[in-house]
Amino acid sequence: MKVEDFDMFSTMLKQRSGLVLSRDKAYLLESRLMPVARKWNMKGLDELAVAIRTRREEALLRDITEAMTTNESSFFRDQKPFDQFRDVVLPMMLAKRAARRSIRIWSAACSSGQEGYSLAIMLLEQGAKLDGWRFEIVGTDLSSEMVEKAKAGIYTQFEVQRGLPITQLVKYFKQVGDKWQINDKIRQMVTFREYNLLTDLTPLGQFDVVFCRNVLIYFDQPTKGKVLESIAKLMPTDGVLYLGGAETVLGITERFKPMDNQRGLYVVNQPAGAQAPRAAVG
């Protein structure tokens, strides 16, 4: 690929989705954009590059942006965060929201929806304890294809075997051909919509718990900071943020700080001045 083409693709991707592509990842462009070129009846990436320069057609730019996302996810991914949700975050929120009896949860960058559905299953498994409570789970993703897949709630045999205990497969899914569809009860607990984390997030409303896992890793530091800061604006001062195993707020933003003794969980930092001086960490 021509250097100027690579630069054009990577600049465009960074602007539209935050994705940072280093030059050694040029092969990723080739492998993921060939299907897009074919769909648009073009021979290859050269032609695609010309089309972008000359037409800047939104639908084409979208297809390219979506094709470059990595949509890897699984039910109860990494398990531990979900155990922490059941054992730490949920009891804490139930205590704090006792008057309102409603809790809003956001799966930001939800991919094909497993994170939101895992939370819904976990909530249902709590049984009568949650009677009278209202839970709203919202999943958002940049990719329209992923949002459609999440809404349908249909997964391959391979996908339902990664992370989902067999008893829950039996309890919450029905078999459709060689695939598995999550039942209506669970599906109704989660709503999905397309949303770009780089845009104004305020229309999404406030969230008590935010899962923003395995998406910041694709961004550069300033973009990570910007996204974390706009997420912080959607959270009450007692809200809880989840990041992925390879992600942190440290050195990126002051709006969050790690939750004591809970790896991967972050709480909203009170504005400087309101906060007592902390002992030096690390």
Partner: protein, 121 residues
């Protein structure tokens, strides 16, 4: 080190499963059908059993029902691993006392998460 009995009539499947399980630090032994598995369990109960369904001599489900009636037979965690991939089979396996269920084809990720879910890892 925990022990795992791999029960499958296909030598290839046993070999693949064994390799994955050994990487997860299980001491593996093998059986080609339900009867051989019964004999192995009568000698010594393994911690885990990875169990195919369709096998000559004695099927996996028949073995499981007998195992659960043996003395000490409620101890092993039994994970089915079979091409039977419909709800009816899964339910039958669970009510016969299976702890987990893998639908073939499988990979090391699936074995690992399933074994973790039943507390073997």
């Amino acid at each position: 080190m925990k022990s795992c009995l791999v029960v499958d009539d296909s030598r290839v499947v046993r070999k693949v499963a064994r390799k994955i399980l050994e990487e997860l630090h299980f001491a593996c032994s093998e059986a080609e059908d339900g009867r051989q598995a019964m004999e192995a369990c009568a000698r010594e109960m393994p911690h885990a059993i990875l169990l195919d369904w369709n096998m000559p001599v004695m099927t996996g489900i028949e073995f499981l029902r007998r195992l659960r009636k043996m003395s000490g037979g409620d101890a092993p965690k039994v994970v089915f691993c079979t091409t039977e991939n419909d709800l009816a089979h899964i339910q039958e396996a669970l009510s016969a006392g299976a702890n987990e269920y893998i639908m073939k084809p499988f990979d090391s990720d699936i074995i690992q998460t399933k074994f973790a879910q039943v507390g073997l890892i």
